[in-house]
Every structure is written in C-alpha cells, then in structure tokens.
C-alpha cells in the first residue's frame, strides 16, 4: 500500500517528463494570444477558466479571424469533448470518491495526466488512495501550464516561431502510446483513428478530434467481437 503523499509524488514524477512539451506549448499559447492582439488578462484568464491547450489556441485564432463567439465556443466544446472518454475510463477508479471530490478532481483531468494516471491505475487497481496519483499528475500539469502561458504572454513576440517547438506536442503523445505498438489490435485502432483524423480534418468545429476516436472505438468493439 502506498500513502497519499507517495501516490501524489508518484503522479508528479510520472507526468514530469511531459513538461518537455507542455512548457514550450504553454509559452507558444500565451505568445500567440498576444501576437493576435488580445488583452493579456484575457489570454491568461483562459488558462484558468478553460485549461486546455489546443482549444485555447483555436479559440483565439477563430475570434481574431472574425468567427462568431458561438462558433469559437462550440469549437472549444467539441475539441474538449474527448474528456468524456477519459472520464468514462477513470470513473471506474474514482467511483468510491464522494460527489464533491469527484466534482473537484474533474477540473484536473488533462490528456497527459489522464494517460499517465490511467497507466498507473491499471497496474495498481487495489490501492486505496489511487486518486492522489491523478491529483499529482493534474496539479503538476496545472502549475506548469499557468507558469508557461504567463511566460509566453510576457515574452510575446520574442518567442521564435521557426524553432518548431510545436512539434513537441505530437512527440509527447507518441511517447504515451508507443508501447502499445506491440499489440496488433492497438495498431489497427491507432491507424483507423489517425487516418480518419486526416480525412475528416476539414469537418466543421474541428470535430475530427472526437469523430475519429469514436470510429476507432467502433473498430475496437469489432475486434473484440472477432477475438471471441
């Protein structure tokens, strides 16, 4: 059995390597907002209120491109709807928490934190205070996201675009799923999702980001039926 503190620290350590991509991305996110001419308080406010990297950038780009508030808001909702899938996976492990604790911990569910905590949960199902791992990953990501978007806002146009730091984002997610390439069923699901996302890229409201996973999960269900 791990103590609460041990689990919290373990969560922090498990997600720490991803800061290599989260911090540059946060800086880019803050800098883009300033470059597009937005009020710095507004750009930073998004990091607390929305707390979702890709969706924040899309929101700013849409508004500055002249899109309506409705389109921008809907796009954020659609991009972030993938959290519904993370929640469904995590619900099994967080079931014993009180309703209030569930409401609080939900704010901290982010891609990399979900991925690392989910890996830990699968291996340690019997731990009593599992959720402290998720608090560890989530709060580490939260603090780094706040600091790095602030840094981006302050640095503004000093952030060199041509370094291509945005490329760290796909790399961080490659690191998350690369071990599943050992399993042929997972490879099929990944390819279905990836290819669908390219084919559906121009779908309205960035909906490729949720439609492709749904298609891939259907294929996963078919694979499971075939395996039996």
């Amino acid at each position: 059995m791990f103590s609460k503190k041990q689990l919290f620290i373990r969560g922090m350590l498990d997600v720490a390597p991803h800061m290599l991509s989260v911090i540059p991305f946060g800086i880019i996110c803050g800098a883009i907002g300033i470059e597009l001419g937005f009020n710095p308080y507004l750009v930073y406010g998004m990091s607390i209120i929305i707390f979702g990297g890709a969706s924040q950038i899309v929101f700013l780009q849409l508004i500055s491109g002249g899109a309506s508030a409705l389109v921008a808001t809907t796009s954020v909702g659609v991009i972030n709807s993938r959290h519904l899938l993370y929640g469904a996976v995590l619900s099994e492990y967080l079931e014993k928490l009180s309703f209030i604790k569930k409401l609080l911990i939900s704010y901290l569910v982010v891609d990399q934190g979900f991925a690392e905590s989910n890996k830990f949960f699968k291996k340690n199902k019997t731990e009593q205070y599992l959720h402290y791992h998720l608090i560890g990953t989530g709060s580490t990501l939260w603090v780094c996201w706040q600091i790095s978007t602030l840094a981006g806002i302050i640095l503004g146009s000093f952030v060199p675009e041509e370094l291509g730091l945005k490329f760290a984002i796909p790399l961080t997610f490659i690191a998350i799923i690369v071990q599943d390439l050992k399993k042929i069923d997972h490879v099929i699901v990944m390819l279905v999702c990836g290819i669908s996302s390219l084919l559906l890229f121009d779908a309205p409201f960035k909906s490729y980001i949720i439609i492709s996973p749904i298609i891939a999960l259907f294929v996963a269900a078919l694979i499971l039926r075939f395996k039996k």
């Binding site: 929101f59 909702g77 972030n80 099994e92 790399l171 690369v178 279905v192 999960l217």
Partner: protein
Amino acid sequence: MTWLSIITAGVLTYFTRMTMIALVSRDMLGDRIKAVLSYVPSAVFPAIIFPAIFINDYGSFIEMNDPKIFGSIVAVIVGYFSRNVIATILSGLISYWIVLYF
C-alpha cells in the same frame, strides 16, 4: 463579450471533464464497454498526433520529405526501445532540427 464566451467555453469544458466521472457508476458500464474503453488512449491520441505531423499550419498536407516525418519515425523507434518519454521527445525534436537546418 469575449470574456463571456471564454467563461461559456470554460463551463462547457468543465462539463466534458466532470460528466462521466461524477455521473457514471460501476454498474452502468458492462464488461464489454469496459473492454472497449481500454482502447481509449490508442483511439484518441492519434487524432492529435497525425494532424500535427501530416498537416501544416495552412491546413494542407505536408511533402513526403518534410523533416517532421523523419523526426516522428526516429521518436517512434527510440520510444519503442527506450520506454522513456524524455528520450522519445528529445530524439524526435533533435532529429527534426538536424534535417531542418543542415
């Protein structure tokens, strides 16, 4: 006006995070669904990875000789054998920079 839409977007985002955690109980998910849900990382993250590699800032497909493709291949190979997140990200970035600048 923009503040109002940011708050709306924030509430929407929070609901996407909270809904399943707070409202789904163990009995509602059968073993079949749980088995399908175990594919969530493999079914979701490629939708972030593929467009970030193969589609450029202007929304069109990249050339086959784009340094991002080389960087991704290096990252996959290094990640697969090293099982290390830092090594995966750094090897991808460095090989991308090497092709980009030399």
